[in-house]
Structure formats: structure tokens, C-alpha cells
């Protein structure tokens, strides 16, 4: 991993799991897989602390272990997985849009705890949902169960692989099979106002707390979030919205339908979906869309002819077979991201030169000036700036075998892969900077924040015991006007930084998806 990635991993571990886990994670990431005693020596921590940290990392899938031949166990950190912590809000929000509140909370619980058995996850979520409901109402476990099953069926969650030491028969053959659990009952509130409910549930609760000797029916089966599937969804989302903005709503619906049909038939690294015939697509269009077959064919033809080549025609059977060119789509999306970055950083004329070079691949200095219709001096300046930022590269083409400078072509070109990597690296740095700055702001205002929290606590307790408005006002006055202003500023800045981190992560996803797709091609 690069220094920028390592620094970001470090910050993420520290923020979410504390300094001890950060130290252990760092040691593993920087120096590579090692056994326990080397870790203890390297980090200078107490053995128990290191053990605890390793348990946390293993629980969350941020590290794995491999038993070695002579009884030792080697631990290895998974840096890429650590970086995914940035994306947790996006996973949870997506689950919410697809499967509502139960889905959202299920994914959240699984992310917060790393992995959970189904019974445990469903119970927790039911309890949480019950808390938010009106008094006397509670959430049915079966409803949450049903959502769990749907998440598993669509592969958004998966069973955890068996640990390395387990016998081979224990390996789960099917990652998405949900065990049959007779989960009945309702969620429990923490403070039950309904006496009847309490009486019922007390018995159950005691049984559960005391009777841990009885293993739950899904003992040993743990579930985790399938990040790859979410990434596939994000990619599809980006594709559909690109088509929508380039063409129109109906075309994007056609593409969305095609992608939905190919969800489970397309391998994760495939460069294009399986061919789908126009008839099949027509049958699978969502119910609300009543366009005729002929119109659908026209849309498909338009999509196939589009220079962006998101959709390609692969044959004529069944009214014409079409595929979605996933790789080409990713290339277009990544390129658009690059262009947008150049435009915002250097200006629209630089962006014009950049797009020109992308289209024409290699151009001489003179040709750039001519094609872009920019005066020589400015064109030169812009090219050098982009060259110094490594967005543009120079390619030498010698005319004579002795490579004499006066008889060599110097061509400007854009190496998309290299530029993408470079910008991805910058993105990691940006997020790390944002996080550091945010921590700094919080540290600077620590005293004021603590004071504010104390005042809130006092106010809350006073309100609970029924204090007068005048007394409450007096307590509120403990925070002065300028202090209030300072708190507001702090909140605004922290929100801005958090939102920026989310935003940069979107770019990170785009670039990473493109790089991964390109690397996978033979």
C-alpha cells in the first residue's frame, strides 16, 4: 500500500477502534503478516492489549489469520477492507432505499459488529425498531426476518467463510442460503411502559440471559455484508444515471432493466453482461412502462449506436440481442471524472486540451494549438502545467536511430490509467487531510464541547424534574453568546468536512472500479 493509503488506514482505525487497534493494524500493514509475539515486540504494547486488538480486527474482517505448519499463527491485515470503512454510510443508505428501515438497520448492525448470527441480528434490529415505535406497539420478528432473507437472496449479505482451522466438511457450499429459523415474537423495548408486555417478556428475557447454555438453532453460522454486491449496485446506479443525463429517462429505464436481469448471471469482474434479447427485455420492463415493442427496439438501436458504447448489439436472434458493456462504461465514467477534475482545477481551456488529447491520443505541440484553437503561448503554458501535475505525458518518437533531439517527435498524450492512479492517490491524501483537520478542530474546541455537553445534561435532568422556564433559561445562559457562535461554527465546519469525506469517497469508488476493471482484463 502507498504511504497515503497507510496514513488513511491508520486514521480510520484510530477513529473507529482506538489507538491500540491502530498500532496493531499499522504494524501489520506496514511490515506485513506476522505472528503474535513479533507483533507484541514491534508495537511495544502489552500482550493482552495486542490480543484484544487482534480479536477486534478479526471480528470485523479487517485482518485474517493463517495457521502455520509449526503451530504458530500468522496474522495479516487487509488494508483495502479498512479503507471501506469510509463507505459505511453509503452502504447503509443504499440498504434503506432498497429495503426500508429493517434493511437499513440490519446492514448497520452487521457493519457495526463485523459479523453476527441471523438470530442475533434480527433480534437486535427488532428491538431497535420497537424503540422508535409508539408505546404499546412492537416490531414483529418475522418481518425483520423476511427482510433478512431478501437481503440474502439478492446477495447483499452473505455467510462468513469457515475459519481456516475448520475441517473441510464445515465449509459452507452456498454463501447465501438462509437457515430455517422459527423466529417468532416481537422486539423488546428497553423501558417497557406496558405492564402486560413486561410480564410476558420478563420470563423470556430471563430465559435468554440465563440460558446461554442452549445454543441457538443457527449456531456457528455467521453473516456479514457483501461489499462487492453493493459495489456492483453503485456501478449500476452510476451507469443508469449517466444514461439518463445523456439521453432520457426511458433509455435509462431500459438500461436499468437490462442490468437488473443480469444481476445474478454476470460474474463480478465481467466486462459485459450476458446477451439479452429484445423480447426478453420487453417482457421484463417494469409494469408502469407501456412502450410498444417497436419503440423499445428504437431505443435499443439508439443506445447501441451511441459513441459512448454503453450498450452493444451482439446478434440478431430474438429480435436483436444486446449487452451492456460494463468495462467500456466504467472507462467512460472514469474519464468523465478525470475531465471534470481538470476542468475544476485548471479551467475550461485546459479541459478542452485534455479532452482533445483523450480523443486524438497523441498530438504534437503545434497540433494541440491548432485543434484547440488556443494561442501558442497559452497552450504551451497549460500543457506544461498539466505535464508538471502528471496528467499529461510526453512521448518521444525518434525519426533517426540516434535519437537526435532535433529529429525527434515529441507528442503529448494522456495515459488514462496512470492519471487515474495518480488522482486516486490524491483522493486518499485528501480524505486523510480532511480527517486530520476535523480531529484538530474537535481538539481545539474540546473544553467548549465538554461544557456544552454538561449544560445539555443539566438542562435535560432539570426538564425531567419539571423546572421553571426561568431556571432553565439561567442554565442556558451559562453558555455565552460568543461561545454559542463558536459552537455553531464548529458544527458547520465539522459537517462540511464530513460531507466532503463522503463526496471524495464517491470519486474513490469510481476510480477504483475503473482500475480494477482494467486490471482484470486479460
Amino acid at each position: 500500500m502507498t504511504q497515503a493509503e497507510l496514513r488513511l488506514c491508520s486514521l480510520l482505525l484510530r477513529e473507529n477502534f482506538g489507538e491500540i487497534v491502530e498500532k496493531v493494524g499499522n504494524s501489520l500493514l506496514r511490515t506485513g503478516p506476522r505472528p503474535l509475539r513479533l507483533l507484541v515486540g514491534d508495537t511495544g504494547l502489552l500482550p493482552d492489549q495486542v490480543k484484544k486488538a487482534l480479536c477486534v480486527l478479526l471480528q470485523h474482517g479487517l485482518a485474517r489469520y493463517e495457521p502455520q505448519p509449526r503451530g504458530a499463527v500468522e496474522y495479516e491485515a487487509r488494508g483495502e477492507r479498512v479503507l471501506r470503512i469510509l463507505r459505511y454510510p453509503r452502504y447503509i443508505y443504499t440498504a434503506k432505499t432498497l429495503y426500508g428501515d429493517p434493511g437499513e438497520l440490519l446492514v448497520e448492525e452487521l457493519l457495526l459488529h463485523g459479523h453476527l448470527p441471523m438470530s442475533s441480528a434480527v433480534a437486535r434490529v427488532a428491538d431497535r425498531l420497537t424503540e422508535t415505535m409508539e408505546d404499546g406497539k412492537s416490531m414483529d420478528l418475522s418481518e425483520v426476518s423476511a427482510t433478512f432473507v431478501r437481503l440474502a437472496d439478492t446477495h447483499f449479505i452473505q455467510r462468513c467463510a469457515a475459519p481456516p482451522a475448520a475441517p473441510p466438511e464445515a465449509q459452507a457450499k452456498d454463501r447465501f442460503v438462509v437457515p430455517r429459523l422459527g423466529l417468532v415474537g416481537k422486539g423488546k423495548r428497553r423501558h417497557s411502559c406496558d405492564e402486560e408486555e413486561e410480564g410476558e417478556h420478563k420470563a423470556k428475557r430471563q430465559k435468554q440471559e440465563g440460558g446461554s447454555s442452549e445454543p441457538p438453532p443457527d449456531d456457528g453460522i455467521y453473516w456479514q455484508v457483501n461489499l462487492e454486491r453493493f459495489h456492483q449496485h453503485f456501478r449500476d446506479q452510476a451507469l443508469v444515471s449517466a444514461v439518463a443525463s445523456r439521453m432520457d429517462q426511458t433509455s435509462s429505464e431500459v438500461v436499468r432493466t437490462m442490468l437488473r436481469m443480469s444481476e445474478v448471471t454476470t460474474a463480478s469482474g465481467a466486462s459485459h453482461t450476458q446477451p439479452l434479447s429484445s423480447n426478453e427485455i420487453f417482457r421484463s420492463l417494469p409494469a408502469g412502462y407501456n412502450i410498444s415493442k417497436a419503440v423499445l427496439d428504437q431505443y435499443l438501436a439508439l443506445l447501441a449506436d451511441d459513441p459512448l458504447e454503453f450498450v452493444g448489439k451482439s446478434g440478431d436472434s430474438g429480435g436483436g440481442t444486446y449487452t451492456v458493456n460494463l468495462h467500456k462504461a466504467l472507462v467512460s465514467l472514469a474519464t468523465a471524472t478525470l475531465e471534470s477534475i481538470v476542468e475544476e482545477r485548471f479551467g475550461s481551456r485546459c479541459a478542452r486540451i485534455f479532452r482533445l488529447l483523450l480523443r486524438k491520443k497523441h498530438l504534437e505541440q503545434k497540433q494541440v494549438e491548432d485543434f484547440a484553437m488556443i494561442p501558442a503561448k497559452e497552450a504551451k503554458d497549460m500543457l506544461y502545467r498539466m505535464l508538471s501535475e502528471n496528467l499529461v505525458a510526453l512521448q518521444e518518437i525518434p525519426k533517426t536511430p540516434d535519437h537526435a533531439p532535433s529529429r525527434t517527435f515529441y507528442l503529448y498524450t494522456v495515459n488514462v490509467m496512470a492519471a487515474a492512479r495518480m488522482l486516486l492517490h490524491r483522493c486518499y491524501k485528501s480524505v486523510a487531510n480532511l480527517m486530520e483537520r476535523r480531529h484538530h478542530e474537535m481538539r481545539e474546541n474540546k473544553r467548549l464541547l465538554e461544557k456544552s455537553q454538561r449544560v445539555e445534561a443539566i438542562l435535560a435532568s432539570m426538564q425531567a424534574t419539571g423546572a421553571e422556564a426561568a431556571q432553565l433559561h439561567e442554565v442556558e445562559e451559562m453558555i455565552t453568546g460568543p461561545e454559542r457562535q463558536q459552537l455553531e461554527n464548529l458544527k458547520r465546519n465539522v459537517n462540511k468536512m464530513d460531507a466532503s469525506e463522503n463526496q471524495v469517497d464517491e470519486t474513490i469508488f469510481m476510480l477504483e472500479a475503473f482500475i480494477e476493471s482494467t486490471m482484470k482484463r486479460p
Binding site: F17, L46, I92, A376
Partner: protein, 216 residues
């Protein structure tokens, strides 16, 4: 022996390739050489585009902050142990020292984790006091009786520990009940419910290593 390329005074600014090809014409003023690293915060020529707002972004922002807060409260957030004090203070005896350093606050499935990561937990007060307190109430103010009980307890420890936990607990059990003995003495002296406190003597890194040795 005129070595080419060593002319620093003359022919300044000559490069190995023809500069005209990249567009630097003759007599063009080149920018001055850079003699220091670029500034840490270079001036921004153009401002960044404002962040996209909208319901989705707002929700994800709230989610992010919620998650951060929630993570800190979970047992997976490993807090560094309280620093050891330089002088032993009287109040240390009555303080609740958290088992942060020496125990995991959640129950992982040990079938999925390597055995070496299991920390031997001093399950001190929880299971034991419940079983032993009724016995000890009988002979509270009698020291000799207590000593007798101690030997009885030792035997009982061996029985109960085999029922309850693994065999390793046995040795810890012996250590423990000696301290409980002390605790009972203290109970006579103070009004505080000492079962809520432990003096933390058996906590700490060195006691781990002594677990296998005989207890004096």
C-alpha cells in the same frame, strides 16, 4: 580533453533535447529555477465547487456522525488502560478498576479465532461471591473459623471450578479466595459494600505470567 557537458558557465540552459520541439523558442524567458520546496498551502486560483446538498447527502452525513458515535460506545473500541499510578494511594483499594486491559467485553465465537488470543479472564467477583457469600456469613466475626473455611473453600474451589470453567481457573481460584479472605476482614472495618470494589491486585500484566506458578 574537453569533456562535453561540463560547461556550467557557458552554454547555460542547454538541454539534451531540442527545446524548440517542445515549444520553447529562442530567447524566450524561462521561469526562474525553483530553489525551495513548494509552499505548504499554495494559493487557490479557483474555488472548489460547492458540496452537493440534498436529502441523500444530508442523510448520509447524519449516518456518518451517528456511526462514529456508536462505534465509540461499542466494546470493539479498545481504550488504553488507565496509567499506573506512581504512588499507591489509599483510594485505590476502593476504586472500581475496569477490566479494560485484561478482558474482552464481548463474547466472540472462539471456534473462529485462534486459541492463543484468548485472554485468561479473572472471573473474580461475579460467579464466586454468589456461591461463597452464604457460606461465609455463618462465621463472619470468627477469624479461626474463617481460616477453617479457607481450607474448605480450597477444596470447594476445585470442585466448582471444574464444573464451571476450564481447569486453568483453578489456580486463579486459589489466588482469588485468598483475596476474598482479605476482603472479608475489611468488611468488618468499613461501611462500604466492598463487593462492589476490587483492589485490583490481581489485575495487571505480571499476574498473567504467574498464573501457572504456585500461590504463596
Amino acid at each position: 580533453l574537453g569533456m562535453a557537458g561540463r560547461g556550467r558557465g557557458r552554454g547555460r540552459g542547454q538541454m539534451t533535447f531540442n527545446v524548440e520541439a517542445v515549444g520553447i523558442g529562442k530567447g524566450d524567458a524561462l521561469p526562474p529555477p525553483t530553489l525551495q520546496p513548494s509552499p505548504l498551502f499554495p494559493a487557490l486560483e479557483r474555488r472548489a465547487v460547492p458540496l452537493p446538498g440534498g436529502e441523500e447527502c444530508e442523510y448520509m452525513l447524519a449516518l456518518k456522525q451517528e456511526l462514529r458515535r456508536a462505534m465509540r460506545g461499542l466494546p470493539y473500541f479498545v481504550k488504553p488502560g488507565a496509567p499506573r499510578r506512581d504512588i499507591e494511594r489509599y483510594s485505590d483499594k476502593y476504586q472500581l478498576s475496569s477490566p479494560v486491559d485484561n478482558a474482552i467485553d464481548w463474547n466472540p465465537d472462539w471456534r473462529r479465532l485462534p486459541r492463543e488470543l484468548k485472554i485468561r479472564v479473572r472471573r473474580l467477583r461475579k460467579g464466586r461471591t454468589a456461591a461463597l457469600v452464604p457460606k461465609q456469613r455463618v462465621a463472619l466475626d470468627k477469624e479461626e473459623a474463617l481460616k477453617k473455611l479457607e481450607s474448605l473453600e480450597k477444596k470447594e474451589e476445585e470442585v466448582t471450578s471444574e464444573e464451571e470453567e476450564e481447569k486453568e481457573e483453578e489456580e486463579e481460584g486459589k489466588e482469588e479466595e485468598e483475596e476474598e479472605y482479605d476482603e472479608e476482614e475489611h468488611e468488618e472495618e468499613t461501611d462500604y459494600v466492598l463487593s462492589y470494589f476490587d483492589n485490583g491486585e490481581s489485575f495487571g500484566p505480571d499476574s498473567d505470567d504467574n498464573g501457572d506458578e504456585a500461590v504463596y
